[in-house]
């Protein structure tokens, strides 16, 4: 019996070694004729849908360059690695990427906390990291190899505070996600409120993935605000709007660009009508690149892209352009990014400042008849 078990353990070990060596063989052979870009995103776990959007956006950018013959005849390959939206996993992924010399740059990570945790790894190895979505203020100082194509929360919250005043809100309640992202939004909005004559009636936090907002909304209802500012993502925003309606609340909603998604409309239905938000990616408006991207995305995946797919597409396209211009070298990608000026992409015209933060201007949007339209 015991011998049998030993034998089977031996067999499994041999099998494992076989599989592992097969894997390394694969990556070895592909090194020579492909250009490899890392993509770190939550492919599984509670944020899997955002990770999928990342993957789709990046792979679309790669597919387009490959169809037109690749870069100097080399195909672009997106190497996807799952960070599960977890900072610890993210560091593991980052270490894997930097130690693989064939990876030229990394698109990622999704969460600001993951980007902040991995920035030291990428910066130490001098490899460019472009986050499509990490908007926490802290990312500004994360290192010279850390870039992002999304504006900071500080910028967005400040912009929204100005807009709130224009819309005539004098009492606003804040609901924010309990994370670097949500707290960042809260702090800036709260700070900008007094100079815009806005009174903050309540600030309520929720944990990412929360579904039940009835408690929070009942509390807010008692403070009677003109509008609710949502510092979070579209799933929760849709739930908040729906549940507010079920509580019979008569209130407007305003939020950041991360709410821009078909899911907000589908999940929120009539409750998100007249929802105000800002957007950098807005197909069908005055940005032809955005419309073009949305059509190509629709053709490839048979669904409409959300903001994150667009950001990921832009980040990947920038890296591809860098390699096209400057050659397949980690350092020259950084040189290219530092020189980018008024790059016209799906998320608007962008440049990078000296901290690797993006400089761009958003569109003011609202929901009308179940669709996003430009708000006047």
């Amino acid at each position: 019996m015991k011998q049998k078990r030993k034998l089977s353990i031996g067999l499994i070990a041999i099998l494992l070694i076989g599989i592992l060596s097969a894997c390394s063989n694969n990556s070895g052979s592909s090194e020579s004729n492909t250009i490899r870009i890392g993509l770190a995103a939550p492919i599984s776990g509670t944020q899997a849908q955002y990770g999928t959007a990342f993957k789709n956006g990046a792979e679309l950018a790669a597919a387009q360059i490959n169809e037109s013959g690749g870069i100097d005849g080399k195909q672009v390959e997106i190497v996807v690695s799952d960070d599960k939206g977890d900072s610890n996993e993210a560091v593991t992924v980052a270490n894997k990427f930097v130690s693989d010399k064939s990876i030229l740059a990394v698109v990622g990570h999704f969460n600001s906390s993951a980007t902040l945790a991995t920035a030291p790894v990428y910066n130490k190895s001098k490899i460019v990291q472009i986050s499509p979505s990490s908007s926490a203020p802290g990312v500004t100082d994360a290192g010279e190899y850390t870039y992002r194509v999304i504006t900071t929360d500080a910028f967005q919250a400040d912009y929204l505070a100005d807009w709130s005043k224009e819309l005539g809100y004098s009492k606003v309640a804040l609901i924010y996600e309990q994370s670097d992202f949500g707290i960042g939004l809260l702090d800036v909005y709260k700070q900008a409120a007094p100079e815009n004559n806005i009174e903050i009636t309540a600030t309520e936090a929720y944990n990412p993935g929360e579904k039940d907002f009835s408690t929070v909304l009942t509390k807010i209802k008692a403070t009677n605000p003109d509008a609710i500012f949502i510092g979070g993502f579209y799933n929760e925003a849709a739930l908040i709007a729906q549940q507010a309606q079920k509580l019979g609340m008569d209130v407007e909603f305003i939020g950041v660009d991360s709410l821009y998604s078909e899911a907000l409309l589908e999940l929120g239905q009539q409750s998100v009508e007249d929802f105000k938000l800002i957007g950098f990616f807005f197909p069908g408006g005055d940005n032809a690149k955005a419309t073009e991207f949305a059509e190509q995305y629709q053709a490839s995946y048979n669904s409409k892209p959300d903001t994150y797919a667009a950001y990921s597409y832009v980040a990947t396209s920038l890296i591809i352009d860098a390699i096209k211009e400057q050659g397949a070298d980690r350092e020259s990608i950084k040189t290219f990014l530092d020189q980018v000026k008024d790059y016209e992409g799906a998320t608007g015209t962008l440049s990078f400042d000296e901290n690797g933060d993006v400089v761009t201007v958003p569109s003011k949007l609202k929901v009308e008849n179940g669709e996003f339209v430009l708000s006047e």
């Binding site: 899997a48 579904k211 009835s214 408690t215 009942t218 799933n235 509580l247 899911a263």
Partner: protein
């Protein structure tokens, strides 16, 4: 505001209670925690969505279909993942349960995708105002249907012959078998009933939040498990009481202390209750025979 918060708390508490019943019935008989139960609830919700959207059946038919199919799924899981391990150490079925849980989530992600999906029904949106309390149609459905299901289960277990056989099985598997009870059938029945109740809870939550997604079973499962332990795991009235209590504590702690700490508060209460009464509020004291 107090009454509104109580209504909110009761609604979600009823859902916890329905899911908790599945944990408690299986634990009562097999002394294992079926950690895949939260995901069975998720599958029930998706099946409801499927019947409503693809087959266009009326809502009550979707409830029945989904409950039946989910019950069959529960029975199959017991057959495939727990029964072969009945004689194994108690940790083994636990690992198997986690495996089933991952399996169900992955299957759901493959079939239905990773994103949140709206529930295709117009039912439930109407709201009524009674004094200072606003209550929606779906909240009324949750409160009424949950009560009916729980009273039904209670009567079934207490008054019918099969119910008596189930209780006998939960007291002692061996003795019940010696008395001529087909204990395997009783175990299957416990899984079937627990899964069907979870499916009903899943559909109601789907309508309440207008959202279903593959990982929805995780937090719901943890909360319901907490409710079951709070009420006394293995005890059916305990699961009902635990669920309602947990829902109320979460709503009131959220309202009067802090929404950020509502889970902290409910878990702190769980720990305190377990320190004072290790077998839960309504749990029977068990004497471990050495």
């Amino acid at each position: 505001m107090l009454f509104q918060q109580i209504t909110n708390g009761l609604t979600i508490g009823m859902i916890y209670a329905l899911i908790a019943l599945g944990y408690t019935m299986v634990y009562g008989i097999l002394k294992i925690v079926n950690f895949a139960h939260g995901d069975i609830y998720m599958i029930g919700s998706f099946l409801g969505l499927f019947f409503l959207k693809e087959l266009q059946v009326p809502l009550y038919v979707a409830f029945i279909f989904s409950a039946v199919v989910t019950a069959l799924l529960g029975v199959t899981i017991e057959r495939a993942a727990y029964r072969p391990l009945r004689k194994a150490d108690r940790i083994v079925p636990l690992i198997s349960a986690l495996g089933v849980s991952t399996f169900l989530i992955s299957v759901a992600q493959l079939i239905w995708g990773t994103e949140m999906r709206p529930f295709p029904t117009t039912f439930g949106a109407k709201i009524y105002t009674v004094g200072s309390v606003t209550i929606s149609e779906i909240q009324i459905l949750i409160l009424v249907l949950s009560c009916l299901l729980m009273v039904g289960l209670h009567l079934f277990v207490k008054k019918t012959k099969i119910g008596t056989a189930m209780r006998a099985t939960s007291i002692s598997l061996t003795n019940a078998a010696l008395l001529g009870i087909n204990t395997n059938r009783m175990i299957s029945l416990a899984f079937a009933i627990g899964s069907a109740l979870a499916a009903c809870a899943g559909i109601m939550v789907g309508i309440y939040y207008n959202a279903v997604y593959p990982t929805m079973g995780y937090m719901a499962g943890i909360n319901a498990f907490t409710a079951a332990v709070l009420g006394g795991i293995g005890s059916i009235p305990g699961a009902m009481l635990g669920g309602v209590l947990l829902g109320l504590v979460e709503a009131l702690a959220g309202a009067y202390i802090s929404t950020q700490y509502k889970s902290v508060i409910s878990f702190a209460i769980l720990i305190i209750v377990l320190l004072i009464r290790p077998s839960g509020i309504l749990g029977k004291k068990e004497i471990d025979k050495v």
